[in-house]
């Protein structure tokens, strides 16, 4: 049987996935999971795809094509050296690469694919994508919408009707779609977005602030310094990623530049609050897209059954916060947001091929984990509040940290009480453990907030390591507690199932054998009335067995045994 793969053909990166034994898998090329959607022609005339093509982009922009997805369905001609190509042909080169990757991974030919496109794609754009697949030697089994694919990856097509909002914020594009799934019928009710908004913009914001800070401190303009900019760009991206799980990110770039004969270093701390201020406007604009999509679909936030976060940038906590605020419900992000669309395409492919598909299963924290805090609200102090550090349904293993402060200037110790649960009042949750961090020096001045960083490390074995550190000091205390963990691995589940099965047989083996024989006998009975009577007896026996009525069971068993003996 020919395998059907699922392809997420993206603006910046593309991915290919397949369902194996009911489980969707992302196919990798060596260690590379994402293939840059870039095609180039090397000076030697060699066709380059992916990272290699991206590598030469700055040097040979006239022989390299980026972001061809934006041009699908147009008359645009892409130049590669002396020749011009249609967007379909360029896209085909990328799809062919994915096809080859899949074939190498599977060790067999791949001839069919499901390809995803944005919900807003016109018929012409869809047709062009389909053509590209065909040029690449792939029979396009179906073109599906990216938000639909995400919903499929989450297994939402099963069961009753669902209205799902898919919030997709990637590296360079953003869209929000409302999808209605009803017993196999899938409809995109509305879709809105911004073709030029994504993680790269957030990196740029951080970079700008770094350049400005550097200029104000050293009076050196880094904008001309290509090497420094390249370093800052990477540092900015690293900081952004770090801030998804930690309240602070330290940006260190030694020997970044020089002034006269003095080497200049960059060493700066970026707090999440500051980062949130930088990107706040951009993220808020995505909230407007949510409003417009809801309006177009004539729905209220409460009509949405599920919210899915897709795209790497949805890892940013502020994104989650704004979506939660708008929709008043918790969004889902259990499936790797970079992979959800490709995995969903693979699920669709498996459905077309008539294969069995299990939901994408991941280990998640079944409850939120956090600590007890006091909150100031309108000058009042509210004690026994619950501050969540790891929200529930977070994929494990996970490390997250948050910063807290002592309440009073002369407070020299802080009790950390670790809870598991969802209640806003800390004590209403399950207390997992507590410890004290002490010897906190008194505040030096009003600005000295004496930050205490509380870090939660939750591992796959359900062990939660809590660590509280007085920031920038060696004053640290930690505690390990056992928290609840959800979902077993496939192997574990298999074992458990087998063990259970064996045990069941052990308890009722005789009954089971008897029943099997009796059923065989019943099938052999010629007379309809006999058979009916026989079946009646079997049913009574089964009922007694299920209800655990021992006496009745023994009696019926004896009766059946006699009958069986007689007949055999």
């Amino acid at each position: 049987m020919t395998k059907i793969v699922g392809i997420d053909f993206g603006t910046t990166n593309s991915e290919v996935a397949i369902v194996i034994d009911g489980k969707p898998h992302l196919i990798t090329d060596g260690k590379q999971r994402l293939i840059p959607s870039v095609v180039g022609l090397s000076p030697e005339g060699e066709l380059l795809v992916g990272q290699a093509a991206k590598n030469q982009y700055i040097l040979h922009p006239e022989r390299t094509v980026k972001s061809i997805k934006r041009k699908m369905g147009t008359d645009f001609r892409a130049r590669l050296g002396d020749k011009e190509y249609s967007p379909q042909e360029i896209a085909a080169v990328i799809l062919k690469k994915l096809k080859t990757m899949a074939e190498k991974f599977l060790g067999e030919k791949v001839e069919k694919a499901v390809i995803t496109v944005p919900a807003y794609f016109s018929d012409a754009q869809r047709q062009a994508t389909k053509d590209a697949g065909e040029i690449a030697g792939l029979e396009v089994a179906r073109i599906i919408n990216e938000p639909t694919a995400a919903a499929l990856a989450y297994g939402i097509d099963r069961g009753e009707a669902h209205t799902v909002l898919v919030y997709d914020l990637g590296g360079g594009t953003f869209d929000v779609s409302i999808v209605e799934l009803n017993s196999g019928v899938i409809e995109v009710k509305a879709s809105h977005g911004n073709n030029h908004l994504g993680g790269d913009d957030f990196d740029q914001k951080i970079m700008d602030s770094l350049v400005e800070a550097f200029e104000s401190k050293h009076a050196v303009n880094l904008r001309e310094n290509l090497k420094a900019l390249a370093r800052l760009n990477k540092a900015a991206e690293r900081a952004k990623i770090r801030l998804s799980d930690h309240p602070f990110a330290e940006i260190v770039e030694e020997f970044l530049a020089k002034k006269a004969s003095t080497p200049l270093h960059l060493k700066q701390e970026l707090g999440r609050n500051h980062f949130n201020d930088m990107i706040g406007k951009l993220i808020e604009s995505t909230g407007e897209s949510i409003d417009r999509a809801l309006k177009d679909a004539e729905l209220k936030p409460a009509d949405i059954d599920k919210i899915l976060l897709v795209g790497g940038s949805t890892r940013i906590p502020l994104v989650r916060e704004i979506v939660m605020e708008k929709m008043a419900q918790e969004p889902h992000a259990e499936i790797n947001p970079d992979e959800a669309v490709a995995l969903g395409a693979a699920v669709q492919a498996a459905i077309i091929a008539g294969e069995k598909v299990d939901a994408v299963l991941v280990d998640v924290t079944p409850y939120s984990l956090g600590i007890e805090v006091a909150e100031f609200m309108l000058d009042d102090i509210y004690a026994d509040r619950y501050s969540v550090i790891i929200p529930r349904n977070t994929v494990v293993p996970v490390t997250k940290s948050e910063v807290y402060y002592p309440m009073f200037p002369d407070q020299d110790q802080v009790r950390i009480k670790v809870y598991q649960g969802e209640h806003k009042t800390a004590s209403q949750n399950v207390l997992l453990g507590e410890f004290m961090i002490d010897k906190i020096p008194p505040a030096k001045d009003e600005d000295d907030s004496r930050d205490i960083v509380v870090q939660f490390d939750f591992d796959v074995n359900g062990i939660l390591n809590v660590n509280a550190t007085l920031k920038d000091t060696a004053n640290t205390k930690s505690l390990a507690v056992k928290a609840a963990r959800q979902r077993l691995s496939e192997d574990e589940k298999q074992d458990a199932k087998a063990a259970l099965g064996a045990m069941e047989i052990q308890a009722d083996d005789e009954i089971a054998v008897l029943l099997r024989r009796a059923e065989k006998m019943a099938a052999a009975l010629k007379d309809a009335r006999d058979r009916e009577e026989w079946q009646g007896m079997l049913t009574a026996l089964k009922t007694a067995h299920q209800k655990g009525e021992a006496e009745k069971l023994a009696e019926l068993r004896e009766k059946l045994l006699d009958k069986l003996y007689e007949l055999e």
Binding site: G30, K31, G40, S42, P43, L48, Q51, A52, A53, K54, N55, Q56, Y57, I58, L59, H60, L226, K227, A230, R231, E254, F255, L256, K258, S261, T262, P263, L264, H265, K267, D472, T473, D491, D495, A498, A499, G501, A502, I505, Q506, D509, E510, A512, V513, L514, R517, L561, D562, L564, Y565, E568
Partner: protein, 326 residues
Amino acid sequence: MLLRESIELFLEQYHRGKAELPAKPAKLRKELKRFLRHCEAQSAPCQTADLSGEIVASYLSDRTRKASGRPRKSTVLALRVFFEFLRREKLVETALAAFLPAHTATKNKADNLLHQLQALEENLLTELNDLTKNVTRLGKEQYKVQTAIDAKQQREAVFFEELQRRLARYERLLEDLSGLKQELTRQISLEIIKDLLPVIDGLENAIALSASLNGKIPAPVHAKTGKNFLRRFFAPRELAENAAPMDVQHWVAGMEIIRDRLLALFKKSGVTPIPSLGEKFDPQLHLTVAGESHNGIEPNAILKEQLRGYRRGEEIVRFAEVVVAK
């Protein structure tokens, strides 16, 4: 009167139809002659009056022996009719008198035997019945036991299958383990090297920058103002106070030694720098960050290396970032 004469008289009467006879005449004659011979053999010549129950009984038993079995009914009847005749003709009394009780005794005995036989049969039937019941009970018992055995076997089969499955998995795991261990070691060493890359980059940057400082190195900028407590501890005080520029060559040489140490460490794990300066741009190894036009320099030649690249065999750990001639 002789017995022979009595018999002939009887047969004559019989011929005249005076007596009702149970047997065919020829057979009767034959039987009676046989009886005569028997009697004469006892006491010759035999008188009718000599007939006694004893003689009759001995004849009957003799007859029984010879015919192997009980005397025929017809024989007995014939004798009985003959004796009736003798009594009617008043020829003899004794024989019949003896004969009839003897017969009754035999009959009683037979009845008794029959009775015993019936009792025996009854007993046997009861026993047979019990036996049948027992056999049925045992059969059912066996059936039950068989059912239990089947169940047990089935359970054993399940356990056995499970055991085999687990054994196979265990063996597979063991097999995988050695390969996995090797792969893991490789990966971990690569991860460590990746974490070390910023360190070696920093050194490279320091070396590159210092080399351009006209042979003099200034005092560290952060030594006095550093906020970080670690820095406060570790910054050498005298260096901070002694702000005079220092000869840089030896410092650079020292840093180069440190860098080479790190590189040697990398090499141990198979990680080597990607050559770039002076090489031709190769998109499989290098990432262009800029293109510069220069006269007299061949296009695609690498002019500058902004970030050193590393590889392990065919695997790229990090692309080299380079400036290339247009």
